[in-house]
């Protein structure tokens, strides 16, 4: 861990100002990921701005019938919030599928969005990683890539190659819910749809998000439509708790008179960001629950998927998980 200075601003503007002034500074909230990365010498901020005292912890209704989740509300407080549980049970379930109770008590909603990949090579400074050391190469590409991405990877140029995944469960549900991220920066406030918040590795695998230097996430807005009646979050992993998703699927459906009127499907554990494929979702709309072809939807979502050896099984696993999640959301799952 490198040496760093520390400050604890009292309001958002001061926090943003401090980040703008200190080159190499980082915000710290729960610290559940950042501190690990600092100990491993992966993150080397020279200044930490502790934002835990900012007034960003509330969860409140928005004027358009949605819900605003404060960036500093903890994952646990969010998952167990009455409004979230009743109106956005998909989000509640996804959050509770992640990490452990202790981590969820510390981790914040804003921090969750910024957590970094759990790629082994990213964490190990004794190996190459283009995300950690631009241009050093990708250890995972020809290495042990069981947990790595199958969609939207960057695998052609060795110097920008990256097959890392985004590890969040919460973000997968937010993608399905089409959440809006509220950001304050040096130039004031702006909003970013969740789909545009995280990015694919492309030629700059070291960038995880589209958030600009100096910007601070202040809240996550959930639109009114929360799919409380027909939803499913399925997470497949190597043990029952405290393991990142090999594949996860968030599904939200709206069904009226047995007919699907809206469908959202987001995948986790398969790409550098939560993965959606609008044309696959469109295949469901207008169909009755019984005539909808879930298998074709799954095939469409996984079209273009590519395995790298150890992770090739994820392609088939993801398809099966999508089918099951759609059945569960549509309440047509065979009783188990």
């Amino acid at each position: 861990m490198n040496r760093f200075s520390y400050s604890r601003p009292g309001n958002v503007d001061t926090a943003v100002g401090e980040l703008t002034r200190h080159e190499g500074a980082k915000f710290i909230a729960g610290g559940t990921n950042l501190l690990d990365l600092m100990k491993e010498n992966v993150e080397r901020p020279n200044h930490l701005i502790d934002i835990n005292h900012l007034a960003l912890k509330t969860i409140e209704d928005t004027e358009d019938g949605g819900l605003r989740l404060g960036a500093l509300a903890t994952n646990a407080d969010t998952a167990y919030n009455d409004k979230v549980e009743s109106r956005y049970p998909l989000l509640s379930q996804a959050i509770l599928a992640g990490a452990s109770a202790q981590l969820r008590n510390m981790a914040t909603n804003g921090g969750n969005l910024f957590q970094r990949t759990r790629c082994y090579y990213f964490y190990d400074t004794g190996t190459p990683c283009n995300k950690r050391e631009p241009g050093s190469g990708c250890g995972a590409f020809n290495g042990f890539n069981r947990i790595h991405a199958i969609l939207g990877t960057s695998d052609e140029n060795p110097e920008t190659r990256c097959i890392a995944t985004h590890p969040s469960d919460m973000a997968v549900a937010l993608a399905a819910l089409e959440a809006i991220i509220r950001v304050t920066g040096p130039n004031g406030e702006r909003t970013v749809p969740i789909a545009d918040f995280h990015r694919l590795p492309g030629n700059e695998p070291w960038l995880d998000t589209t958030i600009q230097p100096g910007e601070l996430v202040t809240a996550i807005d959930l639109p009114a439509k929360g799919f409380p009646d027909y939803y499913a979050y399925i997470k497949l992993r190597d043990r029952q708790s405290y393991a990142f998703a090999l594949v996860s699927v968030a599904v939200g459906l709206e069904i009226e008179n047995n007919q699907i009127t809206d469908a959202r499907i987001a995948l986790g554990g398969v790409a550098h960001k939560p993965w959606r494929k609008p044309e696959a979702e469109a295949m469901l709309v207008g169909k009755t629950v019984t005539e909808a072809d879930f298998q074709s939807v799954a095939e469409t979502i996984l079209s273009g998927a590519k395995g790298y050896g150890h992770n090739t099984f994820k392609i088939e696993l993801a398809k099966r998980a999508i089918v099951r999640a759609l059945q569960r959301a549509a309440k047509t799952e065979t009783e188990s």
Partner: protein, 743 residues
């Protein structure tokens, strides 16, 4: 006579542990303590050409950077570096020279005023290498297999048994046969407490070392010999160990580095490893096993072939007993087995809970299950038909073997009779349900040990032996044994361990501590009793003046006449006649080899497991498991149950989750943290049930105990794998059985 032995008792050290009073190696401090942080290599093989020492030394707070270039001269013979668990070969010597022999090798130690500075400085150490090609993949080097070199360790670990009968002929003729290749991954011990040594540099230049170890005398011997110090100047203390599972059987490199720095700096130094560094030394070796079994038409197991190839390092021949178990479990007439090693550019593997046993037995038990299935026999029926009353290879009867009773009681508790024999025959929706079982076995051994028993002036019994308690309950059972032997109330008995100044005990491993140290404690207390009786006889108006030792008994802190217990002298009164001094006796216990060698001695188990497998996803849950153990006399059912449950949990982990994955591009373990190195979490574990089957054994040792450290894990992986076969019809022979193997 046995007021405490055999009773469920809570751990005598439990309160100290849960209240934080129990201190571990990294928690001891000293005035002016300096902190070391280890720099590990990032290549698997080659030479160090440059280390940027000057730059690192300029960081404020950094005291010294030790490398191969500035280390002091040390012992030059391999023998000096051999610890009690050293396999044949040339032990690894940290900072020996510029050569790198494995990835993660300690190549420098930064010593600083704080741990944080040391760690930061270590991150700035830049090492330049001249790399050489490395070879770390066992599966690509099976052709290089060769027999292990013999050495002192081979006395304890017997080589593969000689062939019996004619395997090829019998196998060829067998109407039922099965053949399979079993692949087991590397595992790392990963106890919760990381390795640490706090070396206190005393004013007189002597060293007091708080070390994480399974044998304080082992660490003392290592330090004295490597650094050419008199034994009396090195004291190693290790009262509490936060788990070890075998990793503490050898001194780890932080001990070497901390001592080196303390001696050079003439200052107290602590070196503790990080979780990531816990993946940079011994581990359970990767192993490939080929088994072939043949049975006659009536279900008689007639032919067994068991060949194993395991990895070892280039410098030591670590080996295990993998292929020797079938002769203790099945009376096949025609057998053949081999065990070979492949030296690779890795660190030497190291004993890990049930070393060899939980490798060889699961492979055997999975093939037994497969053969029973092919014959169409119930797995228990097949095992009962092929039950052996003697160790076939040694041609010796068992000192005791209640395995039949384990099958019976375990099956009854589990409800085995309700099992539908056909695979895939029990399902609920997407969920396939499977019931599987397997046998476990582990040798019951006893070594020599010493213990001291002291009756203090205020009538307390203090017993010591330099053994370890790695969380198994040693403190508790020794206290029980001492209390019963001298008829003392348990609250007046204090047992201490983990100090090289105490009477010598061997390293704590192989399930032999209860037998080994337990017997020494018993003998020391008996000898103290004799001494106290003689003193009682000499007391004024002694009621025992003309009484023989056989006619008295120890009860309620008194010596009492057996025929009339009201005739008694209190131990407190006896010690009162000793001129204000305590009465003590130190005794050595040796196993009665002559008697023991006439018998095979082993603990047995029968394990029953239910799994649920999601047919689409390949995810497995162990929903319940029953283990019935025949482990001789059970000293404390509560700590004994914990031992077995712990073994069962690890067995589930091993079967389904646990694996250190090496990237052979770099020859480096990649999932080196507890987030990605998966062990079972609470949510993975459901109902676990333990039965102790009554087993009386007067041969195995004077206490009749067989040790329970390993037997809990041995049978578990095969029972899980067999249950998965029953659920899915898929026989997966490579562990762990992760979901992708069942898709």
């Amino acid at each position: 006579m046995t007021k405490y032995i055999g009773k469920s008792m809570s751990r005598v050290d439990g309160v100290a542990k849960v209240t934080g009073k129990a201190k571990y190696a990294a928690e001891y401090s000293a005035p002016d303590l300096a902190y070391g942080y280890v720099v590990c290599s990032t290549i698997a093989k080659g030479k160090i050409t440059r280390i940027n020492t000057d730059e690192v030394l300029q960081i404020p707070g950094v005291i010294q950077l030790f490398t191969h270039e500035n280390r002091p001269r040390l012992a030059c013979f391999d023998l000096n570096y051999k610890d009690q668990d050293a396999p044949p070969g040339s032990p690894f010597r940290p900072l020996r020279d510029e050569k790198v022999v494995y990835n993660g090798q300690p190549i420098a130690l930064v010593v600083a005023e704080t741990f944080e500075i040391a760690r930061y400085a270590a991150s700035l150490v830049k090492v330049e290498y001249e790399q050489e090609d490395h070879d770390t993949a066992l599966e690509h080097n099976l052709h290089r297999g060769r027999g292990p070199k013999s050495g002192v360790a081979s006395l304890l670990k017997s080589p593969p048994p000689k062939p019996r009968g004619d395997f090829e002929k019998a196998f060829q003729a067998a109407p039922f046969k099965t053949t399979g290749q079993h692949i087991h991954s590397v595992e790392h011990h990963n106890p919760i407490e990381m390795f640490a040594s706090t070396v206190v540099y005393e004013k007189n230049g002597k060293l007091t070392i708080y070390d994480k170890t399974q044998g304080a005398p082992n660490s003392q011997m290592y330090v004295a010999q490597v650094f050419n110090l008199p034994f009396k100047d090195v004291r190693v203390i290790s009262p509490y160990v936060g788990g070890a599972f075998g990793s503490g059987l050898r001194p780890q490199y932080q001990l070497f580095l901390a001592v080196l720095a303390a001696l050079e700096l003439k200052r107290s130094v602590r070196v503790s490893l990080t979780r990531q560094q816990m993946f940079t030394f011994g581990h359970r070796p990767a192993t490939v096993q080929n088994l072939s079994l043949g049975a006659t038409a009536d279900g008689t197991l007639d032919a067994i072939r068991h060949d194993a190839i395991a990895e070892t390092s280039r410098f030591e021949d670590y080996f295990e007993i993998v292929v020797n178990w079938s002769g203790m479990l099945y009376p096949a007439e025609n057998t053949k087995s081999t065990y070979d090693l492949v030296p690779l550019d890795v660190f030497t593997p190291l004993d890990m809970r049930a070393p060899g046993g939980v490798t060889g037995v699961p492979a055997l038990e999975m093939e037994i299950d497969e053969l029973a299935h092919k014959i169409g026999m119930d797995p228990i029926e097949f095992r009962l038909k092929n039950y052996t009353e003697k160790d076939m290879d040694q041609d010796l009867p068992f000192s005791s073997k209640e395995l039949r009773e384990c099958f019976r009681q375990g099956a009854e508790r589990f409800g085995w009779s309700g099992r539908k024999p056909e695979p895939r025959s029990m399902r609920r929706g997407h969920t396939l349900i499977g019931w599987g079982m397997a046998t476990g076995i582990w040798e019951a051994s006893q070594g020599p040990a010493r213990a001291e028993a002291v009756l203090t002036v205020n009538g307390k019994l203090r017993v010591t032996s330099a053994t370890a308690d790695i969380g198994t309950g040693t403190y508790t059972i020794m206290t029980q044994i001492a209390a019963d032997t001298l008829g003392m109330p348990i609250e007046d008995v204090i047992f201490r361990l983990g100090d090289s100044d105490m009477p010598l005990a061997p390293i704590e491993g192989g399930s032999w501590t209860a037998a080994t140290v337990g017997t020494a404690v018993k003998v020391a207390c008996e000898d103290l009793g004799k001494k106290l009786f003689k003193m009682a006889q000499k007391m004024k108006n002694s009621p025992f003046a003309d009484v023989k030792q056989d006619d008295i008994t120890f009860a309620d802190a008194h010596i009492r006449l057996k025929s009339d217990p009201s005739v008694a002298v209190s131990l407190l009164d006896i010690v009162g006649t000793n001129g204000g001094r305590a009465v003590s006796e130190t005794s050595t216990s040796l196993p009665s080899m002559l008697e023991q060698r006439k018998y095979a001695r082993a603990a047995h188990s029968a394990v029953f497991v239910e799994v649920e497998v999601d047919e689409d996803f390949g995810t497995v849950r162990v929903t319940r498991a029953v283990t019935a153990v025949a482990g001789g006399r059970i000293l404390n059912p509560k700590t004994a149950r914990s031992q077995i449950v712990g073994g069962m949990v690890w067995g589930i982990s091993k079967a389904l989750e646990e694996e250190s994955v090496m990237d052979h591009q770099f020859g480096r373990f990649m999932n080196h943290n507890l987030s990605e190195y998966h062990v079972a979490v609470h949510a993975d574990i459901r109902e676990l049930d333990v039965i102790f089957v009554e087993e009386n054994d007067t041969i195995v040792n004077p206490l009749g105990v067989k040790g329970l450290g390993e037997i809990g894990i041995v049978g578990m992986p095969a029972a899980v794998a067999n249950a998965i076969f029953h659920a899915t019809g898929k026989r997966v022979r490579s562990l762990p059985i992760t979901l992708d193997k069942l898709l």
